[in-house]
Every structure is written in structure tokens, then in C-alpha cells.
């Protein structure tokens, strides 16, 4: 789960990190009031879960409160990568002597949290990694011990040659590490970490992503979720305990299991079709999940055919069949349906489907070909 910059900064502030002062505003008037209170130049920053907001015009410097109001007016309501800006952060503009990057991710190769620092801050770290990898220092932290002071100091000296700033950076890294661990984060970064002309360090932009699996442990963080910043169909799917990702094609897919779902999409593509989505109804599916899955998929106007691919193991195929029949009775489909079912209770499933006038295949390859053919047929028609 991504959280907004201002939320990430709140977490860092509580962890002790020196953060550029700022407050969030939902109206231009509020933005003006904050700027007036600060009495300094401010930066108005769109709060959206999308990269490249600067290029999109979502970050503006304002020298006066009036200017702050004008910028906020323009940014609020702006659409960045399909997401509408609902809030801006009004932050005191920092004096910048130099910019660094400090971040932590979970690294699957070392199986550890990895601290990354670079004196090339203010730009995307992946770009630095691609162009000047020697300007990044990585420390794989042994989670049995945590980030040690000496490790943080090594990073501090990689960023700054003087003891004062090296120490300050080391302190910030340890605070960032604490915040990372305590939030159950999968990513926490400060970019840029600014060094001011007075040699003080301050976090000017920050990003934290929380591992979804941690949210039950952190209700306070779960409450930070901003549903206006997500595609509505994905919010809907999440609430129904489905894993759903919207794509650009027209073959709607309902599959049990993530690997099988990807393989199904791949096969749709192999036969010349385009998948409309990734949708995993999970292992222990019940009819309700199937009903929700159908509702979400059919709300996509691009979908021209719906393909079920169910391999019953834990999943009982009769549950799936019941879900399909119930859903169709409630809301008759306006697109054709191709069903592949095999495994646990498949005879019962076939009987249930037949009673509603539906038929099912047992072979995956055959079913995918049939679904793609439907689209082709319709497109041709």
C-alpha cells in the first residue's frame, strides 16, 4: 500500500527525522493560509500516488501567499496519470546546497532490508543505478542485529566528508530504519535529503510503501489508505478479497491462483487476444467471491467475453458454478461466457451449470481458444 508524501513525512517526523515543515491543504484558501502563516516561500506539491508529478505540473514554488493560492487552485483537481489531485502539501521551501538519496527496501536476493544511499539525490535512484552505479552504496542489514551505528556511519561518510553531516545522516538512517521496521514497510526513502547552506540536513521529499500483509498488525497505518488515489475497480476487488489488476484488453479473466491466472492471460495473448485483467479469486473460494468477481469484470465496458479458468484443488468447482449461476440470475450477462472447470467436485459443477443452460470445458488450451474466438467473431461481426 502506498501512502502520500505528507503521510510518510508524518511517520518520519515522529521517528525524529528532520523534515521540511509543511501542512496539507484540500482547498486553495487553506493553502494560502498556510503560506501566510509560514511567511516564507513555499512549495505546493500535489499528493497523488504517481511518479513524475513535477513534469506534470504538480509541484510549484510560490513566493507569496497569493501565489500559493493560485498554484493550489491549478493543482487541486488536476489529473496526473489518471488520478485526480485531492490534496496539496504546502511546504516551506528549503535552501538547497546539495541533494542526497537515502532509502531502504527489502531485497529478495540477500533476503534482508537493504539501505541504499547516494550523493546523487533528487533524481530516480534506478536511474542512478543504471548510469552511475558507483555513486550508490548498499548495506544489507542483518535483521538479527538491526542497522548498527557503524553501518550508518559508513553510509554517512559515503554521503558527506565532514563529521557533522556524516553523523546527522547516520542518525537519520537509523531513524529511517526504525520507521521502516515499525511500519512494516517494503520501501522507505527520502529523496532528496537536502543539505542546507548552514550544513543541516532536512528531508524534502519522502515515500513509504507498506507491505499489505502487515496492515492487520497496524490499523493506524491501514487507516492512511486513500481510496480516491486508487482505481475504483481495484478498491472494489480489494474489499471483496480478490486480487484484481485492470489491463487494456477485452478478454475478462476469472482464475483461481496467481500463477494460473498469469498463464491464462499469457495464453489469451498467445492465441491473439488481449486480457482485460488479472483476477485471482484465491484458494478457498465461495460463491460470493465469484459473484463479486463477475460484477467487477462486467463493470469494465471494454470486456467482450468472460473466461473462467478454474482448477479445483482446495477450490471447489461446484462453489464456483453456484457463484456463476447466482450472479447471472441477478444480473444477466451482456457478453459471452466461456467456462473451464476441472478438479474437485467437477461433476456436480457441470450439473449445476447445465441446470442454468451453461456448459463447461475441461481443457485450458481449448477454453482460451474459444474465448479468443468469441472476441474475434464479435470484432468481425
Amino acid at each position: 500500500m502506498n501512502i502520500h508524501e505528507y503521510q510518510a513525512k508524518d511517520i518520519l517526523r515522529r521517528a525524529g527525522v528532520p523534515v521540511q515543515p509543511g501542512e496539507v491543504a484540500e482547498t486553495a484558501a487553506a493553502a494560502e493560509a498556510i503560506a501566510a502563516r509560514y511567511g516564507t516561500a513555499v512549495v505546493i506539491k500535489a499528493q497523488v500516488h504517481a511518479g513524475g508529478r513535477g513534469k506534470a505540473g504538480g509541484v510549484k514554488l510560490a513566493k507569496t501567499p497569493a501565489e500559493a493560492r493560485a498554484h493550489a487552485e491549478r493543482i487541486l483537481g488536476m489529473s496526473i496519470k489518471g488520478l485526480v489531485v485531492q490534496r496539496v502539501l504546502v511546504a516551506q521551501a528549503a535552501e538547497i546546497a546539495s541533494e542526497s538519496y537515502v532509502g531502504i527496501i527489502v531485497d529478495r536476493v540477500s533476503k534482508r532490508p537493504v539501505v541504499m544511499v547516494s550523493p546523487a539525490g533528487g533524481i530516480d535512484i534506478e536511474e542512478v543505478a543504471a548510469t552511475t552505479p558507483e555513486r550508490i552504496k548498499r548495506v544489507a542489514v542483518d535483521p538479527r542485529y538491526g542497522l548498527q551505528p557503524f553501518e550508518a556511519m559508513q553510509c554517512g561518510f559515503f554521503l558527506y566528508r565532514d563529521l557533522h553531516r556524516a553523523r546527522a545522516a547516520a542518525r537519520i538512517l537509523r531513524q529511517l530504519y526504525e520507521a521502516f521496521m515499525e511500519s512494516g514497510a517494503s520501501l522507505a526513502e527520502i529523496n532528496p535529503l537536502v543539505s542546507t547552506p548552514a550544513n543541516e540536513l532536512v528531508a524534502v521529499d519522502a515515500k513509504i510503501s507498506i507491505d499489505d500483509n502487515e496492515l492487520d498488525r497496524h490499523p493506524d497505518l491501514a487507516a492512511l489508505r486513500d481510496e480516491t488515489a486508487e482505481a475504483p475497480s481495484e478498491t472494489d476487488a480489494r474489499k471483496a478479497n480478490l486480487t484484481f489488476i485492470k489491463l487494456e484488453g477485452n478478454v475478462g479473466c476469472v482464475v483461481n491462483g496467481a500463477g494460473l491466472a498469469m498463464a491464462t492471460m499469457d495464453l489469451v495473448k498467445y492465441y491473439g487476444g488481449e486480457p482485460a485483467n488479472f483476477l485471482d479469486i484465491g484458494g478457498s473460494s465461495n460463491p460470493e467471491k465469484v459473484i463479486n468477481a463477475l460484477r467487477i469484470i462486467t463493470s469494465d465496458p471494454q470486456v467482450r467475453v468472460i473466461l473462467f479458468n478454474i482448477f479445483g484443488g482446495i477450490t471447489r468447482t461446484d462453489d464456483v458454478a453456484n457463484g456463476i449461476v447466482t450472479a447471472i440470475r441477478q444480473h444477466p450477462l451482456r457478453v459471452p461466457l466461456v467456462i473451464r472447470l476441472t478438479g474437485t467436485n467437477e461433476h456436480e459443477a457441470v450439473r449445476i451449470l447445465a441446470s442454468a443452460g451453461l456448459s463447461a470445458m475441461t481443457d485450458m488450451d481449448e477454453a482460451v481458444r474459444a474465448a479468443v474466438a468469441q472476441v474475434g467473431a464479435e470484432t468481425a461481426a
Partner: protein, 303 residues
């Protein structure tokens, strides 16, 4: 023969009285697995019985240490809620259980950063989490892979996926290719056992004559495995990679199935496998024909 589990497996079930644990314990008992102990705190002294399974009642214990001491269990399978899984794995490792299979999905990845070294510190092997477990057809089943889709034979199978594994095992079985052991290693970014661990075990297992590996997008485990195969394996390996159509930056269900920047794409993985002499099926069904090309007919179902 088989890898990791066999006729000497004495299985413990952690979370035996839970919804998933009790359901699958019955399935494992029916399959003939020697389930010797269950663990549910507070239910120590009770038993888990199922007349239909035709097996004696399974004694339940409060702790893994108690269960291990009383029954000599040498494998444990874990069905506990995600936020308790790390503790369950560590409890099993601390009690000296050498093989720990964690079915639970949704274990926080930071929990796994502590679990992984703990398991290593205790000299245990962890399979999973978020995996379907493993099965040595006709001999022993640990986890949730449906027994009826498997038959004994000479093919080893290792996969990061669940139902996609079933799909491919089913196709192998229908084509007459029996299996020594099918292992699901799970789709999380940090798991206990990787492709190489399984491939080297299959290489060492005299009963296995060919291996199927099923990968997916995310990470570099398949690429590392490909290098390993080209350098250390004498037996034929064929592959399948799911996620060719997956968009970058989106987690495709599995926590580990995510393309980060340019790393972890299906194209990159397919390329690495093919370069290492591992043919990769474009469709699941292709795996069967690729395998047939590399195995003499006589070997296909000899267990």
C-alpha cells in the same frame, strides 16, 4: 524414491484444529501420510480423529517441543494465520524439526527476514511460505496438492505457483509421465527453499530422470537456477514461465510476482533458461511435448 519426504516421514500439523488445518489433515491421512502429531495451544491432550480416514486418532499438543518429543515427528506442516506463521516456523526450527513446510499465505516479508536466518541457525529446511507443499505420489503428501492428479513416476517438478502446478502435473499425469516428487516453493519474495535447492535434490535422487521447473515473473531465482542447471545438472530440465503479459510494477497476486524496473520479466527468464539449454514451453501443454522429446518412453511412468 523422492526428495525431502518419503515413507519415513512422520508428520506434525501446526494449526491442526483450524479450518484449513483440519481439512487438509484429513486429506493427508486419506492419502496415507503418517500424521503423528498436531499442535494447537490449549488443546494439548485432546486428539484429532477422522474415522473416514481409517487412521488412528492424532494426539494434539500445546507446543511443537512437546509434540516432537512425544512423537518423533520429523516434518511439520503449518496452517496458522499469517501473523502467527513466523512464530510457528521458528517454534518448529527451535524444536529441531528438520523440514518445515509453511502453507500460510500473506506472511509479512519483514517477518521472513528474521525467520530465514533463524531457520538456518537451527539447521532446518523451510519450504514456503505461501506454497502448496509437496507430494511424493503414492508415498506421502505434505500440504495441499490434490493427490488424485499425481501418479508415481520419474519426473521431478518444482514450481513457484499453486494451481498452475496442478495444471501442469495434471497434464503430465494424463500424458503418462509420473512424478517422483512435486514441490511448490511458493510465490513470496523471501522463501525458505529455492529452485536450486530442489534441482540439486532431484539431481541427487536416483529415481528422478527429468525435471520440470515452473517459474514466474519477479526476482532472479529462475535465472540463477538456469546457470546452476547448465553447470551442475546431468538430467534434462524443461521449463515454463508465467507472466509474459504482466505489466511492470504491479504485483500479480503473489507478493513475489512483480517486475521491478527491467528485472524479473518473463522475457529475461525465458532467455536465461533457453541460453542454459532448458527448453521453455510457450503454452502449458507444450511442456509435455518438450519433456517427451527428452525422455525415452520406457521411463515415463516408472516410479
Amino acid at each position: 524414491m523422492s526428495i525431502f519426504i518419503d515413507a519415513n516421514t512422520r508428520l506434525m500439523v501446526q494449526g491442526i484444529t483450524g479450518r484449513d488445518g483440519s481439512f487438509h489433515t484429513r486429506q493427508m491421512l486419506v492419502y496415507g501420510t503418517a500424521v503423528v502429531a498436531g499442535v494447537t495451544p490449549g488443546k494439548g491432550g485432546q486428539t484429532f480423529g477422522d474415522a473416514a480416514a481409517g487412521a488412528p486418532p492424532v494426539p494434539i499438543f500445546n507446543t511443537v517441543a512437546d509434540a516432537a518429543e512425544a512423537t518423533g515427528a520429523n516434518v511439520t506442516v503449518i496452517y496458522v494465520p499469517p501473523l502467527f506463521a513466523a512464530d510457528a516456523i521458528m517454534e518448529a526450527a527451535a524444536a529441531g524439526i528438520p523440514l518445515i513446510v509453511c502453507i500460510t499465505e500473506g506472511v509479512p516479508v519483514l517477518d521472513m527476514t528474521r525467520v530465514y536466518p533463524f531457520v538456518q541457525d537451527h539447521g532446518a529446511r523451510l519450504i514456503g511460505p505461501n506454497c502448496p507443499g509437496l507430494i511424493s505420489p503414492g508415498v506421502c503428501k505434505v500440504g495441499i496438492i490434490p493427490g488424485r492428479i499425481c501418479i508415481p513416476g520419474p519426473v521431478g517438478l518444482v514450481s513457484r505457483s499453486g494451481t498452475l502446478t496442478y495444471e501442469l502435473v495434471d497434464q503430465l499425469t494424463r500424458a503418462g509421465f509420473g512424478q517422483t516428487t512435486c514441490v511448490g516453493i511458493g510465490g513470496d519474495p523471501i522463501n525458505g527453499t529455492n529452485f536450486i535447492d530442489c534441482l540439486s535434490a532431484f539431481e541427487a535422487d536416483p529415481a528422478t530422470t527429468a525435471v520440470v521447473m515452473i517459474g514466474e515473473i519477479g526476482g532472479t531465482d529462475e535465472q540463477d537456477a538456469a546457470r546452476y542447471v547448465s553447470m551442475h545438472m546431468s538430467k534434462p530440465v524443461v521449463g515454463f514461465i508465467a507472466g509474459r503479459t504482466a505489466p511492470p510494477g504491479r504485483r500479480m497476486g503473489h507478493a513475489g510476482a512483480i517486475i521491478s524496473g527491467a528485472t524479473g520479466t518473463a522475457a529475461e527468464k525465458v532467455h536465461a533458461l533457453v541460453e542454459s539449454g532448458i527448453p521453455v514451453g510457450d503454452r502449458p501443454v507444450d511442456v509435455v511435448s518438450l519433456l517427451r522429446d527428452r525422455m525415452p518412453a520406457a521411463q515415463r511412468s516408472a516410479g
